[in-house]
Each structure stands twice: as C-alpha cells, then as structure tokens.
C-alpha cells in the first residue's frame, strides 16, 4: 500500500469514468486529460480502465510499502523519488520505503501517476473515480492508505515515450453546439477573433473564461450537456463543462470541444490563454 504523507493541493483517484448513469444525473467523472492518463497506463501495460492518481497543481508526498512500478505523465511538477529528480513518461521501479514527492509546477496543471496493476480501491457504480457524494471522498487525505497489488519484477517493453506535446498549444478545437445557430454575427466574431483567459474558477466541474460575450436573452428547455460543452449565460459568460460537470443544463450550448481539446484544456490553469477554432 501507499501512505499519503502529504496530500498536496487536490489529488484524486480516477479511471475512465462512471458510465451508464447520466440519465440519473450522475456525471461521468474520470480523468480530465485522457491522453496523458492513457499514456501512463500504457507504459505499465495496464488496462486503460485501471485507476491512477490525478494530481493537480501541487503534488502529494507518498510513501510506498511494497515493490512496484510507476509512470508519471502530463504536467511537469518536478517529481522525485527519494529526493532524486525523475523523468516524466518513463517507467520507474519502486522499492519498499521509497518516497515519491513533487516540487515546483513547471508546465501544465495535472500530472497522472499510474501504478502497475492500478490502485485497488472500492468501485462505486462501476468506477473508482472520486466524485462526491457518489464517493465519500472528493480528494485524498493526509495519512490515508491506498492499496495496490505488489509487483517484484516487470520488464517493460517500452521504458520511455516521447509524448505528443500538443498540450503546449492554445488552440481549442470546437464543433458547433446544439444552440450554435442562436449566435449573431457580433457574437461569432467575439468568439473566434479573440483570445480568452482561463478564469480563477476552473476545476473538474467547469472552466470559466474571463472575457464575456455581449448579454443575451436566449432561452431553452433543460437538455443534456457533455464534458466539453460550452454554455453561454444570459450575462454573456462562457462556461466550459468538464468531466464532473452536471449532466443537464438550461443555458444554450453554443460549442462542443473535441476530446483532444478537453485534454488540452485540462492542462490549462488560471491566466492561461486559449483561442477557439471551429471545425
């Protein structure tokens, strides 16, 4: 098992999500950056659905009790094993009593730490993804313990991967959303000719943007929303729903992000700039 010595800013266990319950109002949850998470699990030859840690902004300090292998992908948070810096996108062997810790956030926002065989926590509604109140916890806590199946020896077929660096870019690819046709020329120009800034209000539920469009009086009946749905409020505020976002909403859904762009946005933090590009 792993003992959480320090929990970090916001660290959760995630997998590929809680599918099949959206009609009852349950968000899909799961990893925010599916590309990075998939890469981490692939390096360890895990199942794509194996549970891993999603580490946001400031990393935890973790004490391992049994041998295993880990791989870190996504944001660069100056990860270390026993205070020695380690590389991202590489398989690392862990011995009992090893400590994994993190330092300064250098780029991106979310790091994924996969472990050989995945974290073995209880599944609730077919998923290990943290989401309160479906799960008791919304993030890991100091002194808690996380189970995994020890692995003495493993010879990875790939030791290191050079990841696609698309997440350094700032172009967010979007499709027209169901209410795209409501937008007038001025709003369309506002959307596609400008750069937007990620607001302080950004989390697993939604990313808000600092710049607004003009106020509007559009109305619609409540309907389904998806991760990556861009909603336009009457005040002109843009809200991009993410994986823990509500499953229905009453604001016009003007754009829909591609999966790749959701991954990209998941690595953006407060103050980062983005541009929308229509497919």
């Amino acid at each position: 098992m792993v003992s959480v010595k320090k929990r970090g800013f916001f660290t959760t266990i995630q997998d590929t999500g809680r599918l099949g319950f959206r009609h009852l109002g349950v968000p899909v949850s799961g990893v925010m950056d599916r590309y990075a998470a998939r890469l981490a699990n692939s390096l360890l030859e895990n199942q794509a659905s194996d549970a891993l840690l999603e580490i946001t902004m400031t990393g935890p300090e973790l004490l391992f009790h049994e041998p295993t292998y880990i791989a870190l992908t996504g944001a660069d948070m100056s990860a270390k094993i026993n205070n020695e810096p380690i590389e991202l996108n590489e398989v690392h062997q862990i011995a009992p009593e090893d400590i994994v810790s993190f330092g300064k956030l250098k780029k991106g926002l979310r790091t994924y730490m996969a472990i050989k065989g995945g974290f073995q926590i209880e599944q609730i509604l077919n998923s290990r993804s943290f989401y309160q109140p479906i799960t008791k916890l919304d993030r890991i806590k100091d002194n808690m313990e996380l189970d995994y199946t020890p692995c003495e020896a493993y010879s990875p077929r790939i030791i290191q991967i050079k990841p696609d660096t698309f997440w350094k870019r700032n172009k967010i690819h979007v499709y027209p959303g169901p209410e795209f046709a409501l937008l007038d020329d001025k709003q369309l120009e506002g959307l596609f000719a400008n750069t937007f800034t990620v607001a302080k209000e950004n989390n697993r539920m939604a990313y808000q943007l600092e710049e607004h469009l003009s106020p509007n009086t559009y109305t619609m009946l409540t309907s389904a929303t998806l991760p990556g749905t861009v909603q336009l409020t009457p005040a002109g505020k843009l809200i991009i729903l993410m994986v823990d976002g509500q499953t229905t909403g009453g604001y016009p859904r003007i754009l829909q992000l591609s999966e790749r762009s959701i991954n990209l946005l998941a690595q953006k933090k407060y103050g980062d700039k983005i541009e929308f590009v229509l497919h």
Binding site: L19, G20, F21, R22, H23, L24, G25, V26, I124, L125, P133, I134, Y175, G177, P178, M220, L221, T222, S223, A224, L226, G228, T229, Q246, T247, T248, G249, R253, Q256, L257, S258, E259
Partner: protein
Amino acid sequence: MGAFDINIRSFGEQAIIISWPDRVEEAILDDIIAFKTYLQETSFSAKEWELVAAYNSLTLINNQHLIDLAQYEESLSKAYKTISNSKSATRWLWKLPVCYDSSFGIDLEEVSETLEMPIEEIVRMHTRQPYLVYGIGFLPGFMYLGGLPKTLETPRKAIPRLDVHKGSVGLAGKQTGIYPQESPGGWNIIGNCPIPIFNVSKDPPCFISVGDRVQFYEISKAEFELHQIEAEVGIYNIEKQEWNG
C-alpha cells in the same frame, strides 16, 4: 411516434441530439420516451450508448468511439416516422411522503405571505396532483417536475442558501422538487422527504425515471422519523402504482 417534427443533429464527436418542438408538453415527453425505449431495444444498447431524455430532447451518447452522424441520421429519421406505437417501458406514479412541519419547511411562512395563502392551503395544493418528471440532472437524482399549480408559483430566494438539507422539498418559479443531497440552492423550502431519492448501494441508484410521475402526501413529524429509520435500514416500501395515463 412520428407525430412531431423532429430535428436530428450531431453534438460533438460522440453524441447525437434529437429535438422535438420547443415546448413543455406531456405528449412530447411521451413520444420521446417511446422512441427512447424503441432505440434501446434495437440498435442503441446500453453497452455502447447512454440515452438522456429531458423535456423536448433525446441525446444519444456513444461511450466507445467517435461517430459520424451521416451513418445514423437517415435510419433514425425513418424509424421515427415508420415505427408505429412501440410499447413504452412501464411508467410509474410514485407516492412520496413529505413532512411540512415548520422545522423542515423553513420558508413556509415567507411563502405563505408572498402568495397570500394559508400554510394548510399551500400543503393541500402541493399534494393535490401528480407531477411529471421531465428530466433528471443538475445533481444525481434531482428531478425536474412539471405541473405545479399556477397559484404556487413563487420567485426564487434573492440570496441562495449555502447548504440546503438533503431531502428538502422546494418551490421556485414554475418548479417544485426535492434536493437529493445537501447542496447550495435558491429554492423556497417548504418540507422534507425522508426517502432517499438517490442511493449508490441500490441498483438502479435512483428508482425514478424520466417520464414517471411523483405525487407528494403529507406526513407528521413522528411518521417522518419512522420512515427515515425504515429507509436507513432498508425496509421502507415506496408506494407506487402503474400509470396508464
């Protein structure tokens, strides 16, 4: 089915949205539920697809791969027009107990003043008719109920509360509903339902479906406490009737 003009379009890379005319109408919801049932029983199985119905739309979400609308558009449109009345899933009327005691109905007095209606009358009007579940969303198990009497329409609270208790029954505008869990909220709270609407240890975790009906009935504080204990130990039997319109 086939009675309305529907519009089929793509919703991103993995979903299709089908829209019915833009109004709140029982016949529209019935049509959507019938089409949803037909699709689930034919080519849109739960293994691959999640179907979300709400008010005037049905969203088909593929959980496995990217989809091309062109592959589905014609067959969906044809199925909607040609399939005559497929059997719809069983629809239920759920009778849910609500305690309107002032210790739960913390806004009852204010609502009574705003509506210029005695509390007993509010309770009578609120429990008189079944409400239709037009959607479930916002929170796990949160129902969008239609059919509130006009005389009970109350504006939202000017300042939302940070923590509305689980089970709280509220009024806001044309809507009434139950908070399935503790959450922030701006509805006027008039009572509490002791039966958990959403329970992760149950399969399915929420017993109510879109298209079902819900009717409230008044219980005393003592009955509330009894039902709460019964629900906790899992012996409460929720009263339900088959609804045939």
